[in-house]
């Protein structure tokens, strides 16, 4: 870490290799597989650029996740008119008995209808497995805000799902 902060590309490569899969899966969960590659790359490049500004190397992973979430948020907002289209690609066809295209559309919509901030909370909590306190740290918001967003997200998801024919 220290060597990477000092500009050692080889050291940074090892850091990137260690965290790339997790970052890629986080990006896939947030924006879909089609854009996960670009966003993972953007995240790691931003991390490389900003690494000297990271004051506490112990907090590297939350910091890295936060960059990834921010990049994904920007990306989602830039395509906010059609958030569900690319998300479809995150869902392999034929899984869980949900091969039907319409059903898959609904499934993607279940996350896609969430405001970006709420989607980030759901993914960090349930997908990454972070306790709410760490979700708050990653997003840089109070834990109460995370709880509010999670509550609103679950309400919306349940509401949306209730509209999906069984």
């Amino acid at each position: 870490m220290i060597r990477a902060r000092q500009g050692d590309i080889t050291a940074f490569e090892r850091l990137a290799e260690r965290h790339m899969t997790d970052l890629y899966r986080l990006a896939t969960a947030l924006v879909g597989a089609a854009d996960a590659r670009d966003l993972t790359q953007e995240t790691l490049l931003a991390a490389w650029r900003e690494l000297p500004r990271l004051r506490d190397p112990e907090r590297f992973l939350p910091w890295l996740r936060r960059i990834a979430v921010n990049r994904c948020r920007n990306h989602l907002r830039s395509r906010s008119r059609h958030p569900a289209e690319n998300l479809l690609e995150a869902v392999p066809s034929g899984r869980s008995g949900l091969a039907d295209a319409d059903r898959r559309l609904d499934m993607a919509d279940a996350l896609g209808v969430l405001p970006v901030a709420q989607r980030a909370v759901v993914v960090l909590h349930y997908f990454v497995g972070l306790p709410l306190r760490e979700v708050a740290e990653t997003l840089g918001v109070p834990e109460g805000t995370v709880k509010s967003r999670l509550n609103a997200a679950l309400t919306t998801l349940r509401s949306e799902l209730a509209e999906v024919p069984a």
């Binding site: 940074f12 112990e58 349930y126």
Partner: protein, 619 residues
């Protein structure tokens, strides 16, 4: 008191499947090489405070040269590009959200003028929409960096008037928060503390978000709109460059360090009370006592009651005079009986017990309030489903002139207190003047001729009084305090006591933020005296209650899950109790009937309950 563990079963199946698919996605094999290649072309950022002094000197010289060139440029009649207003518009279902910034580029730390408008241009007869604590929320994103201040607001949902065709203007307002361990904490703190919108150099995106419903609820599919404007701050235009170089030292973009309270030394524990381990009634079929189903409450007049869930429609009632010996005294049958939990109030003829009811059958919200009445603690009548209960979580009840007053919180913060004459029919108190958005109530009591609520109002410690439970006034002249919340009420030998909490926190260990706790005392609930921060209670998340001889508090300290008990004879000087060991608890509760104090907590390790009872505080 602790963050719940993520349980994916809380998610709809479709979402779980989607996340499950993402969990098995592997990055392309050439991605690492691509990253490394780009890294080799990308210089790392350098923090300005690390620039060696000689480099600063060179930098100053370079700036001087550029300034001279710029002066020549301006003197020669050249005009830097005049950045005009920039805006972005989003629309849906007839609603148009427009975010406007008066310039596209600014000098560092120059005031930035931004606002949003929301207009309904559709043909529907819409007169109001329902949204969160603010209809339009603003966020800030550092496009090339990591500084990001997402806006934050309270839970939905309250109504906002809408006049078709008439734009409503929302000036850019800041909201959000940060953790002290956040690498950008200083920046975010400075940003939030500055009443002006001013930014350091960089490329920034200002975002406006509007999310609301046109129906009379926030639970339906909301209309969400987002508009984003990108601006440049810093040496990207001649005008801004000149301003940056010639301005007197600007308000620092990186700003002063966070002030933190010192960590006090804990006083030694003292044997001020005797505690007896007790065995609480066990559920026969399923469902723990306490927690989301069933519950323990102190009885007005003395004794305790435990509602033990045996089935969703059947609850056993146990009573105890001393908290130690329990007897089954009956059962309650009927749909939703498992939501009966207490607390309980008694007006001389009727007991009223509060509780909860799941959504789905009568309510859209997942958690809703409920109430039961009884003349004898044996026969109970459930209040009908009603609007006042929708999205409500009750936490306290008192009785006095005007009937019953319950406190709690509701989805959308529609209210923090509710009134009822008979315990069966309730009305939410929606006086926004007394209870603005974001108000919180922690405890309610009746004081000879008025109700008293303590809690938080507009981010500060607050108390309210009411003669009838319906019309409320904030208590004026409360002691000046950095506390944001008055937590709990106990009426003991030293008068009324509450704990003022939530002031500036100290991170005593990674992520372990602890705030000072100052006892406040009052004889009448109107005139309050604040006392010195309690060393014993520093960082405590505790409930308090009156007991013979003094006061008792039970809770935890910061992230330390060990259950703790403190006592005080006068409400102002608190000491931890020696000789009582509680395990790490995931939750801990305290109820007092005025004669005995019952503390019960759920073991974080086993999930089982432990309970102890005491007859009071001994000096």
């Amino acid at each position: 008191m602790t963050s719940p563990r993520p349980d994916p079963r809380e998610l709809p199946e479709a979402v779980r499947a989607q996340l499950d698919a993402a969990s098995r996605a592997d990055p392309p094999t050439d991605l690492l090489d691509a990253v490394v290649t780009e890294v080799g072309r990308t210089p790392q950022a350098r923090t300005w405070w690390r620039v060696p002094r000689v480099a600063v000197g060179l930098g100053t010289a370079a700036v001087t040269v550029v300034a001279v060139l710029l002066a020549v440029f301006v003197a020669g009649g050249g005009r830097p590009g005049a950045p005009g207003p920039v805006s972005d518009t989003a629309s849906k279902d007839g609603f148009v959200l427009e975010l406007t910034v008066t310039q596209s580029s600014y000098a560092p730390n120059a005031p930035i003028d931004a606002h949003a408008t929301l207009t309904y241009t559709g043909s529907q007869p819409i007169s109001r929409v329902w949204g969160g604590g603010t209809l339009v929320l603003f966020s800030l994103v550092d496009v090339d960096g990591t500084r990001d201040v997402p806006g934050a607001m309270n839970l939905p949902c309250i109504p906002y008037p809408i006049t078709p065709g008439k734009p409503q203007t929302f000036p850019f307002t800041k909201s959000g928060g940060y953790s002290p361990s956040d690498p950008n904490a200083e920046f975010i703190q400075a940003y939030l503390n500055d009443p002006q919108l001013r930014l350091p150099s960089g490329t920034w995106e200002l975002e406006a978000h509007a999310s609301f419903n046109t129906g009379d609820t926030c639970s339906a599919d909301p209309i969400s709109l987002s508009a984003t404007v990108r601006i440049t701050v810093g040496a990207t235009s001649a005008a801004s460059l000149q301003a940056e170089m010639t301005a007197s030292p600007a308000p620092s973009p990186t700003l002063p360090p966070t002030t933190v309270a010192p960590v006090p030394t804990q006083p030694p524990a003292e044997a001020t009370s005797a505690w007896l381990p007790v065995t609480m009634p066990s559920p026969v079929a399923h469902g723990p006592f306490g927690g989301p189903q069933g519950g323990v409450a102190a009885l007005p007049g003395g004794g305790f009651i435990d509602f033990v869930v045996e089935a969703p429609d059947r609850v056993s009632i146990y009573r105890s005079a001393d908290g130690a010996v329990w007897q089954r005294t009956g059962e309650i049958d009927g749909s939703g009986a498992d939501g009966l939990s207490g607390p309980i109030a008694w007006n001389g003829t009727t007991y009223v017990a509060l509780g909860s009811e799941a959504g789905g059958e009568s309510y859209a919200a997942p958690f809703n309030g409920a109430a039961w009445t009884s003349p004898d603690l044996v026969h109970w009548t459930k209040a009908p489903a009603q609007d006042a209960f929708g999205g409500v979580t009750f936490s306290g009840i008192a009785t006095g002139a005007g009937g019953f007053v319950a406190i709690g919180h509701s989805q959308g913060e529609v209210a923090v207190c509710w009134t009822s004459r008979d315990g069966l029919h309730w009305t939410a108190v929606t006086e926004r003047a007394a209870f603005p958005e974001g108000s919180l109530a922690s405890s309610v009591a009746w004081r000879s001729d008025h109700f008293l609520i303590v809690g938080s109002r507009s981010g500060s410690a607050a108390a309210w009084t009411s003669a009838d439970g319906t019309h409320w006034s904030p208590v004026a002249g409360l002691p000046g305090s950095p506390a944001t919340f008055l937590d709990g009420l106990a009426d003991g030998p030293g008068g009324l006591v509450t704990l003022a909490t939530g002031g500036p926190a100290t991170e005593v260990a990674p992520d372990d933020l602890r705030s000072p706790v100052a006892p406040w005392t009052s004889r009448d609930g109107v005139a309050w005296t604040s006392h010195a921060n309690s060393n014993a209670l520093f960082g405590a998340l505790a409930s308090i209650a009156a007991a013979p001889g003094g006061y008792v508090a039970a809770g935890t300290l910061g992230l330390d899950q060990a259950g703790r008990i403190w006592t005080s004879t006068d409400g102002t000087t608190w000491v931890p109790v020696a000789g009582v060991e509680l395990p790490a608890v995931s939750e801990i509760h305290l109820v007092s009937d005025g004669h005995r104090v019952l503390v019960f907590g759920r073991s974080a390790a086993s999930g089982g309950w432990v309970a102890i009872v005491s007859d009071g505080v001994h000096a």
